[in-house]
Symmetry: C3
Subunit: 665 residues, 3 copies
């Protein structure tokens, strides 16, 4: 049996329930080496053409025919697109949009996750679907809904407002507590009752704490909607893993959404300009729930597009590298969106495996290459895990949501900035595991937390402090530990725990753009300040790691003041960063932390090449060039290329978008 | 009698019904050589100050006084601006805007063309006006409404929705047919009844087929509103030609709107940056209904502007060339907007012939030059037609509307792109006639159809196929024949007829921006790909005209594949373009097609000079420099300059914005 | 007693009514030399926690504790932020926003100044506050509301519309008069009754006269709301000066708002990029009501910010110069916004004197320098006035509002352009007093009026004409005297009075961007045209001051025509400018006017240094470098530096952001 899956999103129903193209589809699937298809996510109206009237025969035909040809199925619940008879009968299920009006039928995700009747009908169709397919061995997994998330301030329907007020009441107990927690003496904002708290709509200069809370509420509402669907499937016999396909954003909490689910499903669309960014997310996904599988459920073979194709480039080899990258980071699967281009309506300008007319796209041969490579390397991949556990860096959905409500610095984009920080380690042999603060720190020796606005996520602060005292080296900041869970500053210190546990003193801080200054690091590296500039006063035992100085043009008020320091704490210590280092300085900081922690980096490479260690029953490396130019890696021994059988040692060269799976000899 | 008209939009009513400035106006009109004024288009409240109470005396005074001074009138129906008493009495006549609210009184076109009471009152005032002026010999033409069109998704009032649902029912018969035609199994969009289909408002990710259909509906609603006004005028004795002034956009269908009308009326406002673009439109207008006159009803003497003057340049000579250009393309008339600057309120910063205070603008002398030139050349112009009929290029409002709903490639602008394609022929002696697909192809020998999304416009596809078989050479694509009339792809071929009639095979296609590639044409010209890149497999008898190859920086997946080909069909053939050629390559393609068709180009010139052949009882050329720099033309014999009497042969030089009418000797 | 005030906005209530941080605050206030705090502007809910239930004890504690420590108070009425119980009980008090919906509680200024119940409650809390603090000697002044203004088209609630219709009825008497004044025959706009006139909302192409009138109405509504609050305070015993803090915009009329008030209060936030602009406003403020004090009520110690800090620079020394500049222009006070950073919610990323945690910011030492300098120079400053009264330039809120409704030239920004014109005089020894047209011209000898759209402001036109005839030299234009008070053009002349009083003739005019032209001034200076280009015909006795000519690239239609002229009028004369001169040419024009008026410039300097004359019982100069680079001044005698005691004569050098108070010896 195959240990890796290559698949696609498959919408035969758009060609008619009589499945006129199914035979042709299967021919090309077999030719391309496909072994899984994801189906039915938007086909509610085909499953239940009228209220309570069901038709699954066509769906069985698809699943069965695929299975007969060696192709498994991921079955989807169709809640993202309720039928017209539903939205017509229950207009109250439609979300209320920014303009204060109900959304209308004809697009996607127009119903509100908090409306009881929508939940009821969504679970009912899920139940029927489970009863049909729970015991079908061809169905290897389930997907709930599709790309559930809220991109603006969300719905303000009565069900939402009621649920939000209940949430606030449960969280704060009394309105006085909420007024205090959110500092609502300011501007006479203080509310008299929970029911008075409004939706933070975008036409209003809304309170950041309210925005943050409502964004979390939107996320939690969706997560709960996923949970009840999962429970419905399980109650009706489903045992195959259940997930929901998430996107590379933090508006929807990944940890909370996936908590009750059995598989991490992830969708992404990158181009020549940002292919490397996807590897941050694969890393994040593989660590989000380490004990469950990670499936890359969507990416494009080529161009993205709905009514028009955007002007992004997909050079020769892009499809191949883009398909293989998730496998380097522990994914068991890659699915394209979509198998066959739509014939009309929405999204018909999106790249696919075959065209509407059943002709393969220009890069079908790259897909065949992927299949061949997976054949030869899947045993190795299945018996190893990606990356060493001793270096980790935090990425927090919770903090992401807070930064959206309170960006702190103009245009600050948390995901962009932590992704850049992650990029600093490319080529250094020190690629961190990307983890949520809720993850255990047991195997971690060095932890890097850039812009981790609050430590008040579950018991993270307490675990972190203990871990440091037990020997961990924490690289903190800038903009780390600066707010409590309600987005408020701390009253006595700019930090929640940093000053207390380290003894360091923050004199003051401000946006890096506000003040002319440069920074010189202990290694001699000189750089610009970035994002923020905190100034510290050190005490005995601390080591200054960087100092501000005046730039060439004008005197800096920070000249000579301390920008970063190491503070010993128990058996470990904290490296406090007052400003964000550039990539070279960040690598130096990591090397310093590695030395403190007594660990060694792995193999080094050019910065455009990722060298991902694979560790387990067998050992090796996956090499991937991600910037479409040549690059090389300095191997630390002899390795066998599983695709060619060639033995490599010393320097190995990769062509643009090259990808190699190497087993250590 | 004059054979050409020089006029302006005239609003004496804004100075008061006692017409205090009329005498001064007429003095300047005579001085400038004006012989027509367009009046009354916004003066409903002066004609009908109260419901059913009419006053046309002031209007007769204007018409009569002008006539006594040799100035004719174009009379306008005032439906664009109903009076306050009307919108107050019938608020249901106001359109519903994007925010879901009724528009309000005080601007223009705030009433909905589909509301019966608005239609009734609009026809009633048209009837009264006709009864007053139908037999007035001074009224040489009529204009309906003003610049009727919908710029966004249009009105969603109950009358509109009812009419739209009726239209759909008539078109599709059953909702099942509509669901199928629009592919509404996708996303469970399928509707249960026509009444459920919503307005495609911009806050919704609306279905492109719905958007396209509604845009056509808006256009057809306005066209029908024009039709009933025209019928009202005719029923009340009007025999002078009736038109409506259209704009250089395709949101409002020109062929459908003008079908029941007697004259093409056209408004445009160009500047130094885009003066040449206007010539595309004049060409289009002269061919839209070849048997009726074409009148340029609006352009500016200088700057455009409402509450502010935009930062566009109008150099010395601009007024002269801008006024004369339409005459080169068959227009009988040029009218300025406006005669005298408004004294306050809207549009008071717009250029005019004289100022609010009755002083001529700086370029009044250029207008006098125009009059003098028209005096000397109008006999020649009246006895000739512009351009040779053997080369034509298609421009389709229908396709334009479809591209708005489905741009196919990001930022693709159909009008801009076909205009650029038209510009390729400047200077080559091969300026095509711009025609709608509904036009006959009888005299055409080479037809160029760039981006003609669908051939399903009336019987165009069938006529085209026959015309090719009978010997026509069709230059097709890219993005031509790719959708049916409902915006759907074809199921078995990327094209409706192209593969079937030619035998060519489209391997695949994608946006040009998605893939690095260059293209080499048979002539040896090398260029970039543009807009799209289709790859073809040829069979015996076809000739490859262009091949893709890798660009300097990176390998292309298209390297060595065919980009364009000639396919013989019957006595004619098709040149299939997979990517848009640059100007030089396009001219080569046209020369190749001319050779296939056995026809010869005309006189050549610098690309900034238009040399428009005038053919008829007499023969000659109109030369026009359109980029404000010197340029020259290579004459093919001896010509007399009708302004100076000078004889020219060989190379003739034009100064910036030069304009010459030359009769062949 | 101190003669200057250094203060800050102080919000102890956000830390709790038990004032837990008050002691620490006072320690830092004393250390920094602060002697005034502005309090309570947003604390209505703390003063009146329930309808009719009051609590002023905590407020007395603050005022008293500050007073005990030598710190005075500015007390504020809290109407900008009514409590939740109020907006809940009286939702009709909430403004109706652009989307047609009521604003919601939780931000600022969400209630409408025209709603009676909001006025009633606002006056009631003002009355209570007055009764508590009218006789408290620690309260040295009062502030009403906060930054009252309307940034968009304002509220459209029934109370507003009723008040607007009443205003129109009072102003015009009959609807016919309004229709005529606004030219509403155009587009059949004419209304049947005042009640039909709609709110000029932004979704509509609204009539500019309506927009202008409604903007004035908004401003007047707010001004009246301020007036009734002031009267309430006075009726309840307040004798300390009452003001309201205004902003550097003209949407809210400064003269009308401050007319019934006792002190000019002003807020501004400038950065490295535009620090000099603030001096325009200080100049304007010191002249707005010359007999009342001017207090700079808000500026930042450093960075601005709400949920994020913008990317603006605040170099070393910025805080010092930014604090001192208003004192150079007659301000008695500078207050920072804010004393201590907010702990959470809105605006918590704004710069302050101390942080949320009670730590001074990096530039606290600059504040200490300010205090020291004020100690040494306040006697001198208190006994002098800023600037000479013989040269003035007009800045008109009325014209500012009109230009918003009718920008005339694309992107024309009246404030930006008059500020640039003011900047022309930096370094020339001819810095004008900036005055509203309502101010007396008694001491003025040269008056400069750039872009003064209308002279129809009170009796300005008549006073101006008399002043010119009596010997004044008026520099007028461009875009001056071009509209009447209703935004209409004049019927017989492009100007209201200019042609009549001077005899000059305006041939035509257009936007400078429309026409290629350069201009040569009599001094020989050559420059570009800017904003506008009027062409004049002169008669005997007039002197041409500038001529248009063709630029290097293309011929200009204006070549050789007159661009500016001096016209003798009575004992004085008018310099008419057809286009805006650049800085050098403007300075030449001013020198020419000075010569005509028989007056002499003062000391000259580099253009980055302001040399503000201080005249009175003592005499001297304040020097300020405003562009963060070195600069020098050419003194006209010997001066003592009041900070150092040093004597300067000849050339004195200033370091970047240098500031010196020099007394003439």
């Amino acid at each position: 049996m195959k240990k890796t899956y290559l698949g696609a999103a498959f919408y035969p129903e758009v060609y008619g329930k009589d499945l006129p193209t199914l035979k042709q589809d299967i021919e090309f699937m077999k030719k391309g080496g496909f072994n899984v298809m994801r189906i039915a996510e938007f086909s509610w109206s085909c499953m239940e053409p009228h209220d309570g009237v069901y038709d699954f025969e066509w769906l069985h035909t698809i699943v069965d025919t695929l299975a007969e040809n060696g192709i498994k199925t991921i079955m989807c619940t169709p809640s993202a697109t309720p039928p017209a008879w539903f939205t017509k009968k229950y207009p109250e299920a439609l979300s209320i949009d920014e303009s204060g009006r109900r959304k209308q039928h004809g697009a996607r995700r127009h119903c509100c996750s908090n409306v009881p009747v929508y939940r009821e009908y969504s679970c009912r169709i899920a139940e029927k679907l489970a009863k049909e397919f729970a015991n079908d061995p061809a169905v290897i997994g389930w997907q709930l809904d599709n790309e559930i998330a809220t991109f603006d301030r969300g719905c303000s329907c009565p069900d939402c407002m009621r649920a939000f007020h209940t949430r606030l009441r449960q969280k704060f107990g009394s309105i006085e507590n909420l007024n205090k927690a959110w500092n609502l003496n300011m501007w006479s904002q203080a509310y008299e009752s929970f029911e008075d708290i409004p939706h933070p709509d975008e036409r209003t200069w809304s309170n950041p704490s309210l925005i943050s809370e409502y964004t979390s509420f939107n996320s939690d509402s969706h997560a709960d909607f996923m949970r009840i669907q999962a429970e419905t499937l399980r109650a009706n016999g489903v045992t195959a893993p259940i997930g929901t396909d998430m996107m590379p954003f933090f508006l929807q909490s990944h940890p909370k959404t996936t908590a009750p689910l059995d598989v991490i499903q992830f969708n992404h669309y990158n181009t020549l300009d940002n292919l490397w960014v996807s590897t941050f997310w694969f890393n994040y996904c593989q660590n989000l729930k380490p004990d469950v599988p990670f499936w890359n459920t969507e990416t494009s073979t080529s161009f993205n597009g709905s009514a028009a194709i955007p002007a992004a480039r997909y050079p020769l080899g892009f499809c191949r590298i883009n398909t293989l990258l998730p496998f380097a980071f522990g994914s068991e699967m890659n699915c394209y969106w979509l198998w066959r281009s739509h014939p009309s309506g929405h999204e018909l300008m999106h790249g696919s495996v075959i065209t509407t007319q059943g002709r393969p796209l220009y890069n079908f041969n790259e897909i065949e290459q992927v299949s061949a490579l997976l054949d030869k390397s899947e045993d190795f991949l299945a018996s190893t895990k990606a990356g060493r556990p001793d270096f980790a860096m935090t990425a927090s959905c919770n903090t992401g949501i807070m930064f959206i409500a309170s960006p702190t610095v103009e245009k600050f984009d948390y995901i962009k900035k932590i992704t850049e920080a992650y990029h600093s380690f490319f080529g250094t042999g020190m690629l961190p595991q990307v983890i949520e603060p809720c993850m255990p720190l047991d195997d971690v020796k060095v932890l890097y937390s850039p812009y981790l606005m609050t430590l008040e996520e579950g018991d993270f602060a307490a675990r972190l402090e203990k871990w440091i005292n037990d020997g961990g080296i924490w690289i903190a900041g800038p903009l780390t530990d600066i707010r409590n869970s309600e987005l408020a500053k701390y009253p006595d210190s700019p930090y929640g725990i940093l000053e207390r546990i380290t003894g360091i003193y923050n004199d003051f801080g401000m946006s890096a753009a506000s003040i002319p200054a440069k920074v010189v690091w202990n290694s001699g590296l000189v750089g610009d300040t970035d994002v923020w500039t905190d100034v510290f006063t050190l005490t005995d035992g601390m080591e200054s790691l960087a100092t501000y100085y005046s730039n060439d043009i004008e005197p800096s008020p920070l000249d000579g003041l301390t920008a970063a320091a190491f503070c010993p704490v128990g058996k470990g210590g904290v490296i406090v960063l007052g400003t964000q280092p550039d990539a070279a300085a960040m690598a130096e900081i990591a090397r310093y932390a590695y030395a403190k922690a007594g660990i060694d980096p792995g193999v080094t490479s050019d910065s455009n090449v990722l060298a991902i260690e694979r560790i387990g029953e067998r050992n090796g490396l996956v090499l991937a060039e991600v910037e479409h130019r040549a690059g090389s890696v300095q191997l630390d021994g002899s390795y066998r290329d599983l695709a060619t059988g060639n033995i490599h040692s010393g320097t190995v060269e990769l062509r643009p978008y090259g990808f190699m799976v190497l087993e250590k000899l």
